[in-house]
C-alpha cells in the first residue's frame, strides 16, 4: 500500500509523460506480481464496484471529527472530490506509522473487498482503524478505492508502454491483453507478461478505433479534400461493440470493454453463423420496422439482467457491422478499409446464406433505409446487418444527406478514408464523425456551484433557466463549452453578483445569456420544466443579448415532435 500510494503520488506530481512511465516501470520492477496485477487493474481505470457509498465515508468523517455536516458540504465545494475531502479533514487524526508495507493485494483482497458483506457499523470500525495506520496520501488512496473513484491520471497508452517495457513485448500485444474482463492475480499478471499466446487471448477484442469530430466551425470540404478518397456511413446511435467469434465461442464487447454477450442473445445467435477466427466491429442498435429506435429504447436493454427474452421481443436489436478486424484468425487491421469492406460484405452475405431460417421476419433481402441509391440491402436474417455505404457525390450532396439525419433516426455521418487501416484510439486524420447540429436555445444563467476534480473551487457547474410567464424556470445544467478564460471571468462575475447562497450553490443575478446546444429532447415528469434535454452544453456566451430577450419554455417545447 505504501508503495502503491507512492506510485499514485509520483504520477500525480508530474506533468511529464516520461516521468509517469518511469514511475510505473519502477513500480512494476519492484512490486510482487499480485500487487502489480492490482496496480494494473487500477491504472487501467477499472474499479471495485459497490463497495462503500460516499455517504458512509461522509458519516464516518463527521463522526470522527464532530463537525456539522454543512461544513463538509462547504469543504467539498472547495476540494471537488469526496475521498480527498475526507482525507484532508481526517488529517487531524494522528497517523501511527506502521512499519510493514502491507501489500496492495492483501489490502484489496483481505480488507477492502470483504467490507462489502460487513455490517455498516463494522465497516466504520474497520475503516477508521485502518485510517490510523496510514498517512495522508495512503488515506486518499484508500478512500478512493472504497468509493471506486480512484483515477491515476495516466492514459491507457502510457500504462501499455510501461508494461511493454517491463515484459519486453510489443505495445499492441499488451493493449490486446488488457482489453476486456480479467481478474487480477499473480497468475494473471504472469500471463500478461508471458511471451507466448495465452488462452485468454482468444476472447479478447482489439482496441477500438475512434473517429475525431468535425467541429461546427469547419467542413469536410475544407478538412478532407477530394471526396473520392472517402467513404461515408450513417452514424448510428447505439452501443459501439466488437463481436468476437473464436474457438467456437462468441463474445460481444462494448467500447467500455464490458462483456455484454448475455444482454443481447439475438446477437450471439446470429453470430453463430460466422466462421471461427472472426472479429467484427459495429453498433448494437435498437431497431424495428427497418428504422433505428431512439437510444432511450436501447437503454432499457442495458443493465437489465432479468427478463432478457421478454425485453428482446419488445425492443429488438440488430448488430450493424461496419468493419472487420480479424478473418480466419488473421489480424487484418492493417489492410485498407476498401479491402476490409469487401471482406466484411462477403462475410455477412455468407452468414446470411447459412443462417437458420427461424428468423422472425421475412428472411429475404429487405431494404434498409429508404434513401439509398443504389439501394444497399440488409441481407438475410436481419439481426446481423451490414451498415450501408452512403454514396458520396460531392461534399454538398453529403451535406444535404447529413441534414436528413434526424428524420432518419441517426446522429449524422461517419467519414472514413478508403485507404485507412483500422487504427488504435482516437488518432486524428482517417476517421471522422460529422454529427448533426444540435438543437439550440438561448437561456439565462441562474445558479452556479463549484466544479469537481481540476475545476475544484471554481464556479463551473451552471444551471440555466428559460422564461415562462415572466419567471425563469430552471431547465438544464451545463458544464462544458467555455474556454478557461471565460470560466475565470464568469467565476469572478458570479462571486460579485451572488444574490443568495444555499451552501455552495449561488443564486446569481439573471444577467448572462448563453446559447445552449443539446442532442435530444423529451417530456419529463422528473424535471421542474417538464422537459429533459440530452447532453446540454454551452455553445456561445451571448454577451450581445440581454436576459429579457432569452428564449421561453414555449420555444423549447416546440422542439418536441
Amino acid at each position: 500500500m505504501i508503495r502503491f500510494a507512492q506510485l499514485f503520488a509520483a504520477i500525480d506530481q508530474t506533468n511529464s509523460t516520461n516521468a509517469k512511465v518511469a514511475a510505473m516501470t519502477a513500480y512494476f520492477a519492484a512490486a510482487p506480481p499480485a500487487d502489480a496485477a492490482w496496480a494494473v487493474f487500477f491504472l487501467t481505470g477499472r474499479r471495485l464496484k459497490r463497495l462503500v457509498p460516499g455517504s458512509s465515508i461522509r458519516q464516518w468523517t463527521l463522526g470522527a471529527t464532530n463537525l456539522p455536516s454543512w461544513v463538509l458540504d462547504e469543504c467539498y465545494a472547495i476540494v471537488g472530490d469526496g475521498a480527498e475531502t475526507a482525507a484532508l479533514i481526517l488529517d487531524q487524526l494522528p497517523s501511527m506509522a506502521v512499519d510493514a508495507d502491507t501489500s496492495l493485494a492483501r489490502w484489496v483482497e483481505d480488507r477492502i473487498l470483504p467490507l462489502r458483506n460487513a455490517e455498516p457499523d463494522d465497516q466504520e470500525g474497520y475503516v477508521l482503524t485502518w485510517v490510523r495506520e496510514l498517512d495522508r496520501w495512503q488515506r486518499l488512496v484508500l478512500f478512493k478505492l472504497l468509493t471506486g473513484e480512484l483515477r491515476l491520471g495516466v492514459s491507457q497508452t502510457l500504462v501499455v508502454r510501461a508494461l511493454g517495457r517491463t515484459a519486453d513485448l510489443p505495445a499492441t500485444t499488451m493493449a490486446a491483453r488488457l482489453m476486456g474482463d480479467w481478474t487480477p492475480s499473480a497468475a494473471w499478471y504472469g500471463e500478461l507478461l508471458s511471451p507466448g499466446v495465452t488462452k485468454d487471448d482468444l476472447s479478447r477484442p482489439y482496441p477500438f478505433y475512434l473517429a475525431a469530430p468535425i467541429e461546427p466551425t469547419t467542413t469536410p470540404a475544407a478538412l478532407l479534400g477530394d471526396p473520392a478518397a472517402w467513404s461515408a456511413e450513417w452514424k448510428w446511435d447505439g452501443i459501439r461493440a466488437q463481436l468476437v467469434r473464436r474457438a467456437g465461442e462468441i463474445h460481444l464487447w462494448s467500447r467500455g470493454e464490458e462483456l455484454i454477450t448475455a444482454r443481447f442473445p439475438e446477437v450471439s445467435d446470429a453470430a453463430a453463423a460466422l466462421p471461427d477466427g472472426t472479429v467484427i466491429d459495429g453498433e448494437v442498435l435498437a431497431f424495428r420496422d427497418d428504422r433505428p429506435l431512439p437510444f432511450s429504447s436501447l437503454q432499457q436493454r442495458i443493465g437489465r439482467q432479468t427478463q432478457v427474452a421478454r425485453k428482446a421481443r419488445d425492443i429488438p436489436v440488430v448488430f450493424m457491422a461496419y468493419d472487420i478486424l480479424e478473418q480466419d484468425g488473421r489480424d487484418v487491421r492493417s489492410e485498407p478499409l476498401r479491402v476490409r469492406r469487401a471482406m466484411l460484405e462477403q462475410l455477412v452475405t455468407n452468414a446470411a446464406r447459412q443462417a437458420p431460417s427461424r428468423a422472425p421476419d421475412r428472411g429475404a433481402a429487405i431494404p434498409l433505409l429508404p434513401f439509398e441509391d443504389p439501394p444497399v440491402r440488409a441481407l438475410g436474417p436481419t439481426t446481423l446487418r451490414l451498415s450501408p455505404l452512403v454514396v458520396i457525390g460531392d461534399w454538398e450532396d453529403i451535406g444535404r444527406l447529413r441534414g436528413e439525419s434526424r428524420a432518419n433516426g441517426v446522429e449524422g455521418l461517419m467519414l472514413k478514408r478508403v485507404e485507412s487501416p483500422y487504427g488504435v484510439g482516437r488518432k486524428r486524420g482517417d476517421w471522422w464523425k460529422w454529427k448533426i447540429d444540435p438543437f439550440t436555445i438561448d437561456a439565462v444563467l441562474i445558479y452556479a456551484q463549484p466544479g469537481s476534480g481540476k475545476r475544484a473551487s471554481l464556479l463551473t457547474d451552471y444551471t440555466f433557466g428559460l422564461w415562462d410567464n415572466g419567471e425563469l424556470v430552471p431547465f438544464a445544467k451545463a458544464y462544458s463549452g467555455l474556454t478557461n478564460e471565460e470560466i475565470a471571468e464568469l467565476d469572478r462575475w458570479i462571486r460579485r453578483h451572488t444574490v443568495e447562497r444555499f451552501g455552495p450553490v449561488r443564486h446569481v443575478e439573471p444577467i448572462h445569456v448563453f446559447e445552449l446546444g443539446f442532442d435530444a429532447i423529451a417530456q419529463s415528469s422528473r424535471h421542474k420544466s417538464g422537459i429533459a434535454v440530452r447532453f446540454p452544453r454551452m455553445l456561445r456566451w451571448r454577451t450581445d443579448k440581454p436576459a429579457a430577450e432569452a428564449d421561453t419554455l414555449t420555444q423549447l417545447r416546440r422542439y418536441i415532435l
Partner: protein, 342 residues
C-alpha cells in the same frame, strides 16, 4: 445567515473599507482616504493614494518601496500606542510577513483587535504573532475551513529540498513560484537551514529581497537570473519567480524544468492540477483552521467578525459554538480559489 454584518460601534464598513469614527482613521482602505492604518505591505491591504499612512517601523521601508518617496508614511514600534481622537491605537506582531501587524483600538466602544493577515507558525523573517486580549476580534479567514491544516515548516522545507535534489539528479531546473513579498524571503531563510547553494531569482523579486536583507533577515545568497549571460545552463539550480512570470518568454532561458507553487492553496489537489503545477508545496503565511480557532479562544473575545476567504462558513461555525459572530466584506476576491497572494 450570509448577511452583511454591520459594525455599528467602534468600526464601520464603508465603501473605502473599515472606518473608525472615534479615531477618524481607516484600516487598510481600498480607496484613498485622509488617514490610513496599514496592517502590512501586501497590495490588497496597502493601497496607494491616501494622504497619510501609519504602520509599524518594520513595515515602513516596504511601504516606501511600494509607494515611492512622495508618500507620507509614519510608523511606530510594536506595542507602542498613540492617541487618535478618543481612541488609543497600537500595533502588535501578526507573524504574517515582515512588519505585519494586528491593530488594537481601545476606546469608548471597548477593545477591538483587527488581525490583518496572520499565522501562528514560526517564521525567521518576522516577529512572531502575539495574542492580544480583546472584546471584539476581527479575524482573517483566508483558510477558514477544516480541510486547511498545515504540516510543520520543517516538513515542507524537506519536501522542497527533496524535489530540488531529485531535479538536480535529473538535470532539471527547479522553478518555484511564490509571492514576491513574504513567501520568497521565508523560503530563502528556511532553505538556509538545509543548503548553502545560491538561488536564482526573477527580477521582480529583487526589491523586496533587498528590503529584507536591509532589515537584517538572514537568507540564502541570491543571484538575479538576468545577470547570467545567455546560454547559461540552470540545470540543477533553484529559481524563484512570481506566479505572474509563469509562461512568459523569461522562462525560455531555464531549459527543462520541473515547477512548483508554494501556497496554502496547494493543499487541495484539484487546485494544483487546475493550474498544472508539477508540485504544490503547502506553505502558507495564513493561519490554518486549528490556528484560527485556537487564536480566537486565546483572545477571549466575546464577538468575532470574519473577513477574507471562507468568512461566511467560518462565522456560521463560530455561531454554532455559541460565539457572537458575523462577516465583514472586502472589496477583494472572497474565496481562496481566486487569485489572492497566497
Amino acid at each position: 445567515m450570509h448577511k452583511l454584518y454591520w459594525v455599528r460601534e467602534m468600526l464601520q464598513e464603508t465603501s473605502a473599507g473599515l472606518f473608525c469614527p472615534d479615531g477618524d482613521f481607516y484600516i487598510d482602505p481600498w480607496h484613498p482616504v485622509p488617514r490610513a492604518l496599514i496592517t502590512h505591505a501586501h497590495g490588497d491591504h496597502a493601497r496607494y493614494g491616501s494622504a497619510a499612512y501609519l504602520c509599524t517601523d518594520a513595515c515602513a521601508p516596504l511601504l516606501t518601496r511600494r509607494f515611492g518617496p512622495g508618500a507620507v508614511i509614519e510608523s511606530m514600534a510594536y506595542g507602542q500606542s498613540l492617541t487618535l481622537g478618543s481612541t488609543r491605537v497600537s500595533f502588535h506582531p501578526a507573524g504574517h510577513v515582515l512588519g505585519s501587524a494586528q491593530v488594537c483600538i481601545a476606546g469608548p466602544g471597548g477593545r477591538w483587535v483587527i488581525s490583518g493577515d496572520y499565522k501562528r507558525a514560526a517564521d525567521p523573517t518576522c516577529a512572531p504573532f502575539e495574542v492580544v486580549p480583546c472584546d471584539t476580534y476581527i479575524t482573517e479567514t483566508t483558510f477558514g475551513l477544516p480541510i486547511y491544516r498545515w504540516d510543520s515548516t520543517e516538513t515542507v522545507i524537506d519536501e522542497v529540498k527533496g524535489w530540488w535534489d531529485a531535479n538536480a539528479a535529473n538535470q532539471l531546473t527547479s522553478v518555484l513560484f511564490c509571492y514576491t513579498l513574504g513567501k520568497s524571503q521565508r523560503l530563502l531563510a528556511e532553505l538556509a537551514t538545509v543548503s548553502e547553494r545560491p538561488v536564482y531569482v526573477h527580477g521582480m523579486m529583487l526589491p523586496m529581497i533587498d528590503a529584507y536583507r536591509a532589515a537584517g533577515v538572514g537568507m540564502l545568497p541570491t543571484v538575479p537570473l538576468l545577470e547570467k549571460p545567455k546560454g547559461t545552463s540552470f540545470a540543477g539550480e533553484l529559481v524563484l519567480a512570481p506566479p505572474s512570470a509563469r509562461g512568459t518568454p523569461w522562462m525560455r532561458r531555464l531549459g527543462q524544468i520541473s515547477d512548483g507553487l508554494a501556497s496554502g492553496l496547494m493543499r487541495v489537489r484539484g487546485v494544483r492540477r487546475q493550474r498544472a503545477y508539477d508540485r504544490g508545496f503547502v506553505l502558507s503565511d495564513h493561519a490554518d483552521w486549528p490556528a484560527l480557532l485556537e487564536t480566537i479562544a486565546e483572545t477571549g473575545a466575546s464577538r468575532v467578525l470574519a473577513t477574507h476567504g471562507h468568512a461566511e462558513p467560518f462565522a456560521r461555525y463560530l455561531q454554532g459554538l455559541g460565539l457572537q459572530s458575523g462577516v465583514i466584506r472586502t472589496a477583494w476576491e472572497d474565496e481562496s480559489g481566486s487569485d489572492d497572494h497566497e
